[in-house]
């Protein structure tokens, strides 16, 4: 399928045909889905892959020798190879399947963190982090009596690199930051952050949840030690994610969960563990969704990451201009490099009210703290309205958002509420 109108311009009308969920009305109006940072919609090929699997070759993988088991195993491992290529990792055994970024970070914290962080050591995160990249490190610090340090932001919502350099020390063991912020959209200089972490002998973990569908990922170029992705945020199914880990580090890490698949031999006296990546994949995995995930990555590759980035950047610029021009609106997060996330507040109108009234007109956005409560506290707000874009969003949808916001502002100001 050719989704391009010119060499480099995406055709959202063509793309939208691939997404059945978008062809519906909500509260009598065409659905305008602008909550892609929460989860993206799924193209037909991903949905079909799920039914094909369950209709055609459902079997447990890696253990059976019958035809269905072989077919399922092959499809499962094909996805692993696709992930390796997608993120430019060197080795397929560096790709571990998990449930999502949350599990990926918890895995690293519970294994690498607890094994190698000692009393007095330091773990550095940024003020942009999602709770999933805060709480597991808090637990490590509590258990090991280590310190959690937070890189502050500048006025536009970017990591303050000068302050980061001052936080780094010989006690820094782990630096964990997101590639792009789910609340503000800021794209972080992860290659430079990784280089600085390595200069102090620390490992770098990058949370790529908001990058997977939207910007280029090259773990070889970034040179990070861990990179985490969630399939459902990149047109794939829920319940699947990946942890990329540098082989030499994964080999040093103790297992995360015990059970089938991750063992080589079990006796009551002693158990030995399987090779990478299976050491970290205990139990029956989410086979169907891993297989279907490959279709999501192929979809992205067919469109071309650079085309996706350009399309979403254009939408973001258009939306920022139009929404930012509305009375009483303040845009939150004005970094020079952003993914397609637009957060804003409207004076005297609570984000929950805005979200609900947008929903009344078929427009889906996210409201609240977006699982970044410390960031919101630092910004002095209780939450924002967040519109987040994907390849199937259009300028007409941004216009619909703007028109609805105008109505809400007009009505709520004339009601003299709050």
């Amino acid at each position: 399928m050719n989704y391009l109108t010119t060499i480099s311009t995406l055709d959202p009308a063509l793309i939208r045909k691939e997404f059945p969920v978008l062809q519906q009305k909500v509260n009598g109006r065409d659905l305008v889905y602008l909550d892609n940072a929460a989860t993206t919609q799924k193209p037909m090929r991903v949905i079909r892959a799920l039914t094909d699997y369950y209709n055609g070759y459902n079997a447990n993988i890696h253990r059976g020798i019958h035809t269905l088991a072989e077919k399922a195993t092959h499809a499962f491992e094909q996805t692993r190879e696709t992930v390796r290529s997608f993120i430019h990792a060197q080795l397929v055994e560096e790709i571990v399947f998990v449930r999502g970024v949350t599990e990926a970070v918890n895995l690293v914290a519970a294994t690498y963190g607890l094994a190698f962080v000692e009393e007095g050591d330091e773990i550095i995160i940024s003020n942009l982090e999602h709770h999933s990249n805060i709480v597991p490190w808090q637990w490590v610090c509590e258990k090991k009596k280590a310190k959690l340090l937070v890189i502050p932001l500048n006025d536009v919502g970017e990591i303050d690199m000068n302050k980061f350099k001052k936080l780094l020390s010989d006690r820094t063991k782990i630096v964990a930051v997101n590639h792009a912020s789910n609340s503000l959209g800021t794209i972080n200089p992860v290659k430079e952050i990784t280089r600085l972490a390595h200069s102090k002998g620390a490992v770098a973990l990058i949370d790529g949840a908001q990058a997977g569908a939207h910007i280029a990922i090259d773990v070889a170029d970034i040179d990070c030690d861990f990179y985490c992705l969630s399939a459902h945020k990149m047109y794939g199914p829920t319940g699947v994610g990946i942890l990329y880990g540098r082989k030499s580090i994964l080999e040093k890490m103790p297992p995360y969960q015990g059970g089938g698949e991750m063992i080589r031999e079990v006796t009551y006296k002693k158990t030995t563990y399987n090779d990478l990546p299976y050491k970290f994949e205990a139990g029956t995995p989410n086979i169907a969704d891993v297989i279907a995930f490959r279709g999501a990555m192929e979809f992205i590759l067919e469109l071309g990451k650079e085309n996706i980035t350009a399309h979403e950047r254009k939408l973001l610029s258009y939306a920022s201009r139009k929404v930012g021009a509305l009375p009483l609106v303040t845009l939150i997060g004005r970094a020079s490099e952003k993914v397609g996330v637009l957060s804003f507040v409207i004076e005297n109108i609570h984000p929950f009210d805005i979200g609900q009234m947008l929903d009344a007109r078929g427009i889906a956005v996210r409201t609240g703290h977006h699982c970044t409560q410390p960031l919101m506290a630092c910004l002095g707000i209780n939450g924002t309205v967040r519109a987040s874009f994907a390849v199937y969003n259009t300028e007409a949808e941004v216009d619909a958002l703007v028109e609805s916001l105008k109505r809400i502002i007009k009505f709520l100001n004339s009601s003299h509420v709050n």
């Binding site: 509260n27 109108i349 609570h350 929950f352 609900q356 209780n382 709520l412 009601s415």
Partner: protein
């Protein structure tokens, strides 16, 4: 006006909006905007209703056997929802409030328009109103 009459009035008003969700939300918000202002001193954590998605403060006062309420919220829709309940309950006796069967939300299918979270919050508001007017349990001998 009785609890039943107040509810029937609300049902009649909402039915003129023909299920238009935006109009219903505007209606709810408009009602909330004319709630008497709650004294700042009452906007404390102890007066928050638990189980609401937004912050909703509620205080009850009594004059002879009639109960009056002050309420406020940090969101316009929740303020509107609590104002609907105050319209039903203000000026009633504690006994009438405790025994009241609240049916206007179901008759109007309110959950369709305000969603599950706020609907659960609405139920929490009713529960709190009834709880707050209940006389304290007598001391055990």
């Amino acid at each position: 006006m009785s609890i039943k009459s107040a509810q029937d009035e609300i049902i009649a008003e909402v039915s003129t909006l023909n299920g238009d969700i935006e109009k219903i939300l505007f209606y709810i918000i408009s009602l909330g905007s004319v709630l008497p202002v709650m004294p700042k001193a009452f906007r404390i954590d102890n007066n928050l209703i638990q189980g609401c998605h937004s912050k909703v403060w509620l205080v009850a006062t009594a004059k002879s056997d009639r109960v009056s309420f002050y309420a406020d919220s940090d969101t316009a829709i929740s303020k509107g929802l609590i104002s609907l309940l105050l319209r039903v309950f203000n000026g009633q006796t504690a006994d009438e409030i405790i025994k009241a069967d609240i049916y206007f939300n179901q008759k109007n299918q309110l959950e369709r328009y305000i969603g599950t979270k706020r609907s659960n919050g609405f139920a929490a508001m009713i529960e709190r109103i009834k709880q707050i007017v209940r006389p304290p349990d007598p001391p055990t001998p």
